[in-house]
């Protein structure tokens, strides 16, 4: 398939060259499968095979694009797409800067992260995996929900500036398993991200669910008092907060526009906890990486924060063009964000629950519907979900109703960090709005942050 894709893109490139126009071509193919569970049944079993082509035409400082869903056999339609983009660009107004046209200095082909065994898992295998995880855990009242999403994803690009192509294909899976009480409305969840089929581990998912179920079925839930708590965040919550930090913290274009909680003068300063190290590391295959960006810039390990010191902003090509900055190779569908592990030896939820503690600790594995309250201050808000626990200092464990946290990310990843777990894992942050874009963030399993305020506490689920 690779050859046919590259051959088609080359044919389109030659067509554009013959017309005397300047274009870049971005190709995306997905073969997506999603088995969705609800109320202990498969509520939906779906697949989509889609090919998208986006043509961007350049004319001096002008730029316009045309996108289409198409098939590789419809070369004439794609040529018409080039014609349309080139017609559009004649009528747009020039930018105040010169937009860069992608140039690939050499062919970039990366198929190393494609596992056909994962991409082509059968319906029966996916169902079998789910059954293995939840066997015996469902009851008349405790119902299974969740998804098994897997597929293959190909991104390819070429431009009239160079005959060299860009081609990346990967396989991915995202598994999310929820057990929820249909009357009491509590929910517990366990999740997994896989880049290869061998990454899938039903036993690990099951163990976490069993632990949470034990407490949610045996302990009486409570509305916990408002106030300040020492909080241990789980992988999902950490990944979500890192995503937001990356968005309103490290993006140079947003900083220039005033949306960042970090400023240029913060570069080189200690802004976060010394325990906090955060990098964009495309060498980590678990992050479904791009080792070259869409403008041909090789992507290497890029430190964002090292031991609390803010190192650099990331610059997308268009922002770099507009603000006269050097692009940093970040014009890719997603970055390979990795937070370094710390020193705390905690490999499982069971380890955390057994750990001795000198104060009450609120465990929040997941933050629901997080949003930015104040980007300049880095303030976000979100609610706990999917298996929060209050670990009392006397060793007992209480199930809390969900609570709301409204907090600055500069505090969450700042000096209030007590410890960070040594072990890290990929947390899948993929969404399927638009084109498939498998994404995960490498995060510590747990992170303890002291003295954070709970601003709202539910009186029920």
């Amino acid at each position: 398939m690779r050859e046919k894709i590259l051959q088609t893109l080359n044919e389109l490139r030659i067509y554009a060259l013959d017309k005397g126009v300047e274009v870049s071509l971005y190709f995306h193919e997905e073969d997506s499968y999603l088995m969705r569970f609800a109320n202990s049944a498969i509520s939906l079993n779906t697949n989509e095979h889609l090919i998208r082509l986006e043509v961007t035409a350049f004319e001096g400082n002008k730029r316009a694009s045309y996108a289409m869903i198409t098939d590789l056999d419809k070369v004439n339609d794609m040529k018409q797409g080039i014609d349309t983009a080139c017609e559009m660009v004649k009528h747009v107004m020039p930018l105040s800067y010169s937009p860069t046209v992608p140039v690939y200095q050499s062919p970039f082909i990366d198929e190393g992260n494609f596992d056909p065994e994962l991409a082509q898992m059968s319906n029966e295998e996916k169902l079998g995996f789910f059954n293995q995880v939840v066997n015996g855990l469902e009851t008349e009242e405790i119902k299974l929900s969740g998804i098994f999403s897997c597929g293959a994803n190909t991104v390819a690009a070429v431009s009239t500036r160079s005959a060299h192509p860009f081609f990346v294909t990967t396989s991915d899976a995202q598994v999310s398993i929820v057990l929820a009480h249909s009357a009491l409305k509590w929910e517990v969840q366990s999740e997994q991200s896989a880049q290869r089929k061998t990454d899938l581990d039903a036993a690990e998912l099951r163990a976490e669910l069993v632990t949470l179920l034990h407490h949610y079925t045996h302990d009486t839930p409570q509305q916990i008092p408002l106030g300040r708590y020492d909080i241990v965040f789980g992988a999902a919550a950490i990944a979500d907060m890192l995503n937001f930090t990356s968005f309103i913290g490290f993006n140079g274009g947003l900083m220039k526009r005033g949306y960042s909680c970090l400023k240029e003068e913060n570069i080189g300063q200690k802004v976060f906890s010394e325990q906090f190290t955060f990098v964009d590391d495309p060498s980590r295959r678990e992050t479904f990486p791009f080792r070259c960006d869409l403008y041909g810039i090789p992507r290497d390990r890029f430190p964002l924060v090292e031991n609390g010191v803010f190192k650099a902003f990331t610059w997308y090509q268009d922002d770099a063009d507009e603000f006269s900055q050097s692009p940093t190779g970040h014009t890719v569908p997603h970055h390979s964000l990795c937070m370094a592990g710390g020193t705390q030896h905690l490999n499982t939820l069971g380890d955390l629950l057994k750990q001795s503690r000198e104060s009450d600790i609120l465990y929040i594995p997941f933050l629901h519907y997080m949003n930015i309250v104040n980007p300049s201050k880095g303030i976000i808000t979100g609610s706990s979900r999917f298996g929060a626990l209050l670990l009392k200092k006397d060793g007992s464990i209480v199930v809390p109703y969900n609570v709301r946290l409204t907090q600055s990310l500069l505090d969450v990843f700042g000096d209030k960090i007590e410890w960070i777990a040594q072990d890290t894992l990929p947390y899948n942050t993929s969404t399927s709005y638009g084109a498939r874009n498998p994404t995960s963030i490498l995060v510590p399993r747990f992170m303890r942050v002291n003295d954070l305020e709970i601003s709202l506490s539910n009186s029920s689920y």
């Binding site: 079993n45 319906n123 929820v178 949306y259 601003s455």
Partner: protein, 484 residues
């Protein structure tokens, strides 16, 4: 093509499928322009076509979609196979509420097709807006236009064949500025729907110009303002935030798939139970809410949903009491069976998919609050002793069962003894859903009622974006925590 679709549907029926439908999109096209600080950053168009097939087999759904129409056999077989495997894990076999077989056409009202307007005219509009927004104190200014047009042909195994052509225009303005502490503030104008159509004619230069000047003025007020105090006050919500309050804490909470637990793995559930219908006092007696897909000028109106059910105007909350839900054919059957009573009398016609390659799910139509008898905005302010007037969505976060919320707004003005005293910045409010709606103490009259739109409501797995509307009046709620 339609004959081929019908043949495929019959073929799967012969294999044992109890229901099959197909949504064929001959085309869906978009055109987007975005001007940022004078730069036309985005000029893009798209066109796609394809087909989505939904199969019900032994009580389970299978779905498959493709843009390749050259091998319909394989596509329909894949959808059937997906249903066949899903049927291995069924707990409540899917049943579909009765509906009539319909042959119909629907075209959304549009006098000027936005795809026939020249790019030069669209750019000229944006340039004029950018010029008006380019004022001292404004650090970022954004003007945008977004046009969508699609043709959908729906065919099902029950004899329905429906053609829809839907056109929508979305336009918006936004300004941002920095206060003396370096804090970013924003003010937007997303025009409420006026008139009776949805085409390019809705782009009224004079109306946009007036509001461009207004949002710049209000941004400057905010930049100079003191911080919003932490306090308990009456909050008076203008339509620019009232629509979102309605969307998040009535609309999503009353989607029947959420209530039945079909969104628990992702979007969340609802605090509402089947036992609540006809009993739960959701809000004060001043609250009457409805799902009205028959309004002419909003993206929440579509003629027929993707189950082939005609658009309807249904009560959701009647004088404070919960009476209805947002539903499709499948969920009402399951809800009635599980409740062991007939809560719902058929589908409310709200099953929609965002594209040919997504499966229909319960989506809001136009979730509206009826105007009340508490007068104009000025009357409500005059009758408020200690309050805050809020407008513009800045941030929103809602509990997983829609039981509580936290909203940030773009603009806020304190109200003392019946008059507006001063603007405040970083205004927020929060609450628990049912107590909040029960604190509803004033509902503005028709003069305060505006139809706002949502262009990007997200839900479902695989994820879907949907467009819809909210007709809402000015409302006042008492004893609400602000400023946190």
């Amino acid at each position: 093509m339609i004959d081929q679709i019908k043949q495929q549907i019959e073929r799967l029926r012969a294999r044992g499928a109890t229901y099959v439908d197909t949504r064929w999109y001959p085309y869906e096209e978009t055109n987007s322009l975005l001007m940022w600080n004078g730069n036309l950053k985005d000029t893009s168009s798209s066109r796609e076509s394809g087909i989505g097939v939904r199969v019900l087999y032994k009580g389970a759904w299978g779905f498959s979609a493709s843009s390749d129409l050259s091998n319909l056999n394989a596509l329909y077989d894949k959808a059937f196979d997906n249903a066949r495997v899903a049927a291995e894990r069924v707990t409540f076999p899917v049943r579909l509420a009765e509906k009539e077989s319909i042959e119909a056409k629907f075209e959304s009202p549009s006098r000027i097709n936005p795809f026939e307007v020249t790019l030069a005219d669209k750019v000229a509009f944006l340039r004029e807006m950018d010029r008006l927004l380019d004022q001292p104190g404004v650090t970022q200014r954004v003007s945008k236009l977004d046009f969508r047009r699609k043709q959908i042909i729906f065919v099902d195994s029950e004899g329905s064949q429906i053609e829809k052509v839907i056109t929508d225009v979305f336009a918006g303005l936004e300004v941002n500025g920095l206060d003396s502490e370096g804090g970013m503030h924003e003010r937007k104008f997303n025009p409420p729907r006026r008139g009776d159509s949805r085409g390019w004619e809705t782009i009224d230069l004079r109306y946009f110009s007036e509001n461009a000047e207004r949002i710049v003025r209000e941004l400057k007020e905010t930049l100079q303002a003191e911080r919003c105090p932490v306090d308990d006050r009456s909050v008076i919500l203008l339509p620019g935030i009232m629509y979102l309050q309605t969307h998040e804490t009535i609309g999503h909470a009353l989607e029947l798939d959420r209530i039945l637990g079909y969104e628990l793995a992702f979007a969340g559930g609802s605090f509402v139970t089947l036992n609540d219908f006809g009993k739960l006092r959701y809000g004060s007696e001043k609250l009457t809410a409805r799902a009205d897909a028959t309004l002419l000028n909003t993206p929440g109106s579509f003629g027929y949903d993707d189950d082939g059910v005609p658009a309807q105007d249904n009560l959701l909350i009647d004088k404070g009491i919960l009476v209805g839900a947002i539903s499709g054919r499948q969920m009402v059957e399951e809800a009635n069976a599980k409740a062991r009573r007939a809560i719902f009398n058929g589908s409310s016609g709200a099953n929609r998919a965002t594209a040919f390659y997504r499966v229909p799910i319960e989506r809001m139509t136009n979730i509206n609050i009826d105007p009340g008898n508490d007068g104009t905005l000025e009357d409500i302010i005059r009758n408020t002793e200690k309050g805050i007037l809020l407008d513009g969505d800045r941030s929103w976060s809602i509990g997983s069962n829609r039981e509580q919320f936290h909203f940030g707004t773009e603009a806020g003005w304190l109200v003392e003894d019946g008059r507006i005293t001063r603007p405040v910045k970083n205004a927020t409010y929060k609450g628990a859903t049912v107590p909040f709606w029960n604190s509803l103490s004033a509902v503005g009259d028709r003069s305060t009622w505006e139809v706002c739109y949502v262009a990007n409501c997200g839900k479902g797995q695989p994820n879907q974006i949907m467009q819809l509307g909210h007709g809402v009046p000015v409302c006042r709620f008492d004893n609400v925590r602000i400023g946190e």
